[in-house]
């Protein structure tokens, strides 16, 4: 009996796997293809057309939502990446300290609490603050997005710090580099791919969020996902498919960026 037979083969597993991939990609493929449909139906092909992309691009609400989505994602990803970088540096360098587990627990809270619970909790707090201060700006959304992006930014940065060779930093110290210079010229360049991956993950997370934004926003603060949710709650139009297609392309490009960054820096 060939031994490889056992290790690489379980009867029927490959068939299940292939079915899984078909299952994962068929709905996406259909939705993307129908974004180019000339007709209005989501099942009948009426010829190739870009009209829904055009109509989305001319829709003022879509433009406003896209701008707000990008603004929010950039601001909260920058904030989340910055605070996560500081925290990851403090938590991976030096001995394990008292309060380490506690700190780690706090940072991972947004991952463990169901999104809907965070969302209504933030709704209550932001509604109360609005009542007190009358402030209706973006700050509520920025704080909310930054908070739930923190773990997503933190994890890749921590991962990078853990696999980095700490002796390089020590060597810099031995050669009389000031702590700041050691950080600036050794730690920072080595850490950069992790920071970039953390930023992209936080950015995509913020860009994709529906539930928390839906609850924290006020009138006129629609992001692309909350705009789409509002639309499909009524009737589905191919315009939404077109927006989805563009959105998908952006997310895909970002994921491939992370993948490329990880591949490139693996040799270190």
């Amino acid at each position: 009996m060939a031994k490889n037979f056992l290790v690489t083969h379980q009867r029927g597993f490959s068939a299940v796997a292939v079915t899984t991939f078909i299952f994962l990609y068929t709905p996406l493929a259909v939705a993307l293809i129908f974004a180019f449909n000339a007709g209005t139906s989501a099942a009948k092909w009426g010829g190739f057309s870009l009209r829904w992309f055009q109509s989305a691009a001319n829709n003022q609400q879509v433009i406003a939502a896209s701008i707000l989505s990008l603004k929010l994602a950039v601001i909260s990803a920058i904030l989340a990446t910055a605070v996560s970088t500081f925290a990851a540096l403090a938590m991976t360098r030096g001995p394990k300290f008292r309060g380490w587990t506690f700190t780690y627990g706090i940072i991972s809270v947004p991952l463990m609490v169901p999104e809907i619970v965070t969302a209504v909790a933030l709704l209550v707090v932001s509604a109360t603050f609005r009542g007190w201060t009358g402030y209706t700006g973006l700050a509520y959304l920025i704080v909310a997005h930054t908070a739930f992006c923190v773990p997503f930014a933190y994890l890749p940065i921590r991962g990078r710090l853990q696999t980095m060779d700490i002796s390089l930093e020590r060597a810099a110290g031995d050669l009389y580099a000031s702590p700041w210079n050691a950080f600036r010229f050794i730690t920072m360049p080595l850490l950069f791919p992790g920071i970039l991956a953390g930023f992209i993950l936080a950015f995509v997370t913020s860009l994709d969020d529906v539930v928390i934004t839906e609850f924290v926003k006020t009138a006129g603060q629609d992001t692309l996902p909350t705009y789409m949710l509002g639309q499909v709650r009524r009737t589905i139009t191919p315009e939404v498919n077109a927006i989805a297609a563009v959105f998908f392309a952006i997310s895909l490009a970002l994921v491939i960026c992370i993948y490329a960054v990880n591949q490139r820096t693996k040799i270190n």
Binding site: A31, F34, P110, P114, A147
Partner: protein, 303 residues
């Protein structure tokens, strides 16, 4: 020397907390403090137009499971609430189970490819995962609606006489949840299968174990941390889902996430909504405790 050391470790510790505090502050303000607020609200009475009156009461908590009779204050088990709670539990458990059933062979398949191919298959799992949840959910909606592709094809093929009602059923919610969260099962199971010591499998086969027996008695037990992690990662978002029942359940098949929203929206009953949210939190905590006890056999790593 000793005093110099101690001065140094003091400043070290001060810098450390200085570096950690911004992250802590953000998470406390944006996630933990709001949670504490709804803990307090769940013990208050509802205000006239939303909000709360600062009169302490257990009423919201009682109403999670019981209806209070208007006339004699008698408590009876609440049919609606029990139905929503049990639907949420059942649908998320079925989702988790099917994800495991489908995800395990898929993860196994990926783990047994050559190193280069593995990367490609893994990327193929990650791409749908990073596609917006809404986009994936209405992709499913498009596919299973009455005039959708599946029904059109089946009708044309003469297999059915009239469209199958798939949308707005529990089945639709389940398919949607499986579709959305399947990658969360595949990835951790893959991670644990990839680390599997193949010598053990060969040893089992040398001792004439049937492949299926090797699977059940060697592979699955060794992959347990990944299986438990994957199940938790699927179960938690599935039970708290909000978008999927709206789009695929048609707002008629409520799950606890939608019920919570109702209390803060039309219901204007913040204490009850808070109590329901904390009930959901409680279920999630129980799941996490099970995970800590059974999944994480290696303990936490530093860092």
């Amino acid at each position: 020397m000793a005093s110099l050391e101690s001065v140094r470790s003091k400043t070290d510790s001060r810098t450390r907390w200085l570096l950690i505090s911004p992250a802590m502050l953000v998470v406390i303000v944006g996630a933990i403090a709001p949670l504490l607020v709804i803990v307090i609200y769940s013990f208050l009475t509802p205000g006239p137009t939303g909000g709360v009156n600062f009169a302490p009461s257990f009423d919201a908590w009682t109403r999670v499971l019981f209806d209070r009779d208007l006339f004699d204050d008698a408590l009876t088990l609440s049919g609606t609430n029990l139905e929503i709670l049990s639907r949420s539990l059942l649908l998320s458990l079925v989702t988790t189970f099917v994800c495991l059933l489908v995800g395990f062979p898929t993860a196994y398949f990926i783990a047994t490819r050559s190193t280069l191919n593995r990367e490609v298959w893994l990327l193929l799992v990650t791409v749908p995962f990073w596609t917006n949840l809404l986009i994936r959910t209405f992709a499913i909606q498009d596919l299973i609606r009455n005039e959708g592709i599946i029904n059109t094809v089946l009708l044309k093929a003469g297999l059915i006489a009239e469209p199958l009602q798939m949308l707005f059923t529990n089945f639709a919610i389940c398919i949607g949840l499986i579709y959305v969260y399947l990658p969360l099962m595949i990835l951790p199971v893959y991670a644990s299968l990839e680390r599997l010591d193949r010598n053990l499998l060969e040893a089992a086969s040398d001792l004439y174990a049937h492949p299926f027996k090797v699977l059940l008695e060697v592979i699955v037990p060794l992959a347990r941390p990944g299986i438990v992690a994957g199940s938790i990662l699927v179960f938690i978002p599935a039970i708290g889902t909000y978008v999927t029942p709206i789009l695929l359940g048609g707002g008629r098949k409520l799950m606890i996430g939608n019920y919570i929203e109702l209390q803060f929206g039309q219901g204007r009953d913040w204490p009850f909504g808070s109590a329901l949210s904390l009930t959901l939190m409680g279920i999630v905590m129980v799941a996490l405790l099970v995970y800590i006890r059974h999944g994480d056999t290696h303990g936490h790593e530093h860092g």
